[in-house]
Structures are given as C-alpha cells and as structure tokens.
C-alpha cells in the first residue's frame, strides 16, 4: 500500500488516507523517503545506459533478421574480426569457409554524389586496373549479403568474384561490410581474401583491411 502510494498507483481515496497517516507517523514518512530515494538512485545510476550508443553487434542481430533462414551469431566488431581471421586460417588449412546468409539494408539507396572505392585490397594487387574496384564498390553498395557478383576481365580473362558476408553499423553510424573476394587467374588456383570496408558519408567504400590466407598452394605462381 505504501509503495503504491509512492508510485502513484493508488486511487484518490486511498492516496488521501496515506497522506493522513503520514502526517502522524514519522516511521512511515521515513519508509516513504527510503523508497523514493532508492528509485531516484536507480534512475540516476542506469539512466545513462539507455543513452549510450548501441553496440553494432546488437543492431546487426536485428537488422539481419529479415525472415527466412537466419544465421545471426555476430558479436562485437573485434570478435568479428577475430572470427574472420579464423575463417582465413581455416581456409588455408583446407577447410571450406561457411556461407553466411544475412540481409543487407542499404544505408541510403540513391545518393547522387560520386561514389568510389579506395584502393588497397588484393583486387588492386592481383588485377591492376580500375574495373575490379568498381565491381567491389557496386557489390558492396547494392548487393545483399550472401550474393556474389562475378566479373571477367576481357583482356586477361581473370575472374573476380565479390560476395558481401556481413553488415555492421559502427558506433559512428557508418556502415561496414565484411566481404569475400576471389580472384581467379587462368591456369592458376583461385585466390581468396577477406576484407572489411566501411562506407563514408560521401558514398565511398574504404577498405579497412584485407586478410589473405597465410599459405598459398605451393604451385601457385602469380
């Protein structure tokens, strides 16, 4: 009854009765004070928690829940990076990288300002020229995770495949995507790398890092 009074859950009649009782009972007043103070302490302590930026791993759990099949096991970004390293290591050990199917929402569908991709990925190293970067950009910008896009260089006949794997929203609200890229040069084994690129406000995808399997097959000669 007293606690309901403190929380304003009593109707007018009961509330008045408590008012009257409080006037004559110091011990009751003390209990009301303690109850009010504990509520105030709780609000003071936890108020800020709800104003903190959300960890990207949490929002991505929900963003990727598009319905149908789901594999939502993302963690904090560092953990995701560690997992990607593990993936790359697993690949070099001869295992098959698991396929992650997640949905991807474009941050802003049709930005008119000039998009582009910063160079630095293995695409630039393995197949010189601007086209593979454009493939990477287009794929990161438009495709859902789990969808791979292939492009064949008309001159060298080498094939580039880009597949976005997962999407995060970083603390500064930019979007970042992990992706897999494979470069197949004729008469040589395919070369697979894992990258992370983040989208700038201007619509550029900056490659943050690219992981390549540590050991290539012995007969591979670039």
């Amino acid at each position: 009854m007293l606690v309901a009074f403190v929380d304003g859950e009593l109707d007018a009649e009961d509330s008045l009765a408590v008012h009257v009782a409080l006037r004559h009972d110091p011990a009751l007043r003390e209990r009301v004070r303690l109850m009010r103070e504990s509520a105030a302490l709780l609000r003071a302590a936890y108020g800020d928690v709800a104003r903190q930026p959300l960890p990207p791993a949490l929002t991505s759990v929900i963003r990727t829940a598009a319905g149908g099949r789901r594999r939502v096991r993302s963690r904090w970004l560092p953990a995701a990076i560690a997992a990607t390293i593990a993936l790359a290591v697993g690949l070099s050990a001869g295992s098959v990288a698991p396929r992650l199917t997640t949905a991807w929402q474009r941050p802003d569908a049709a930005r008119p300002d000039a998009p582009g991709v910063a160079t630095g990925g293995p695409l630039a190293l393995l197949t010189p020229g601007g086209a593979p970067e454009a493939v990477l950009h287009r794929t990161l910008e438009r495709e859902r995770s789990g969808t791979s896009v292939a492009w064949t260089d008309p001159d060298s006949k080498s094939e580039v495949t880009v597949e976005p794997l997962r999407t995060y929203r970083a603390a500064d609200h930019t979007f970042c995507r992990e992706y897999r890229e494979t470069v197949a040069i004729p008469s040589a084994p395919a070369h697979t790398g894992y990258g992370l690129a983040c989208r700038t406000a201007g619509g550029r995808w900056n490659v943050q890092y690219v992981l390549l399997p540590a050991a290539q097959p012995a007969d591979f000669s670039p």
Partner: protein, 179 residues
C-alpha cells in the same frame, strides 16, 4: 519480421540494455544477455501478439533468458565486489565521476538483492512500467509486484547506506584509484 517491427525492436534496444545492465551488474554481460534475448525473440517471433506492446514482450523474453542463464552462473554472484558509498564532493566533483560512482554502487547493491526483487525494481523504478505491466512481464500477480517492490526498495537503500569499511566489507575507491 517486417521492417516496421524491426525498427520498433531497434527502438527498444536501449531500454533492453538498461534492464539487462541492472540485472547482471556489468555492461559486457548485459550486452551478451541482450543479444541472447534478441536471438530468441527473432527465433520465436510468432510468440508475440502484434496487438500487445513489443517492449513488454521483449522485457519478458530477456527476463526469461536471464533466469535460464542465472542457474548456470549463480556461483559468480557470490564474488560480487562491494563499492563503498563514500562520494566525497571534494574529490568527485565532476558529474560524470559521480554518475559512474553511483552506477558502481547501485550495481553492487543490486547484485546483493534477490533476483525477483531486482527485476521488479528495474521495471517499475527505471523503466517506469505500471504495476499491471510489470506483473504481465514477470507473470506474477500485482500483489506480488507490490511486496517485492517495497522490500527491494528498502533493502537497496539500506545496502547503499549501510556499507561501512569496519564491517569487514571490501572497499574500493574508484576515484582515488584513477589518480
């Protein structure tokens, strides 16, 4: 899950994190718990009646996930460190330092309360749910909400007040430790 519901769920996240933080006492475990709850909610999304409040349902999912997890982790709670409630204004004049001191203090005290009281305190005092709403989330009668709330509030206030170094309680001084 349609995009609108997804956005609604995203909008509930900050409060879910706060609720979880109050339950487990640190942000890392809290985020882990929120993630588990979200994954469960997504898996069993047909359990939500679209005519009802999504936030209440999510509080319930999280509460259940916490209880399930708690059974495995009960040992941990016995090693809770207790922070003394000695906020010296001369030392901790900055609002932020005080806020984090309050947080540490309340976190510690909350961990000493029975689990059932902890969730009621958070839902009513912090999340501002009505008694009826809290009863719905926790699946108990309103009378139970009231008695847990009354006991929990008095206990919390006394715990924060009553922690004295000479009672053999370990005392941490976060402000001094920071230099």
């Amino acid at each position: 899950m349609d995009p609108r519901t997804r956005n609604e769920l995203l909008a509930v996240l900050p409060r879910l994190r706060r609720f979880a933080r109050g339950l487990v006492g640190n942000q890392h475990e809290a985020d882990d718990l929120v993630q588990t709850a979200c994954e469960r909610a997504i898996r069993h999304f047909d359990g939500w009646d679209p005519g009802t409040r999504l936030d209440s349902w999510m509080f319930r999912v999280l509460q259940t996930a916490w209880i399930d997890r708690g059974r495995a982790q009960q040992v941990r709670n016995e090693y809770v460190e207790t922070v003394a409630a000695t906020a010296d204004p001369a030392v901790g004049g900055e609002a932020q330092a005080l806020a984090s001191l309050t947080l540490g203090m309340v976190d510690s005290a909350m961990q000493l309360l029975p689990e059932a009281q902890r969730s009621v305190l958070l839902l009513v005092c912090v999340e501002q749910l009505s008694y009826a709403e809290a009863a719905e989330v926790l699946g108990v009668p309103v009378g139970t909400i009231m008695s847990r709330l009354a006991r929990g509030r008095l206990a919390l206030r006394r715990l924060i007040d009553g922690v004295e170094p000479d009672e053999g309680v370990e005392v941490l001084r976060p402000l001094e430790a920071r230099g």
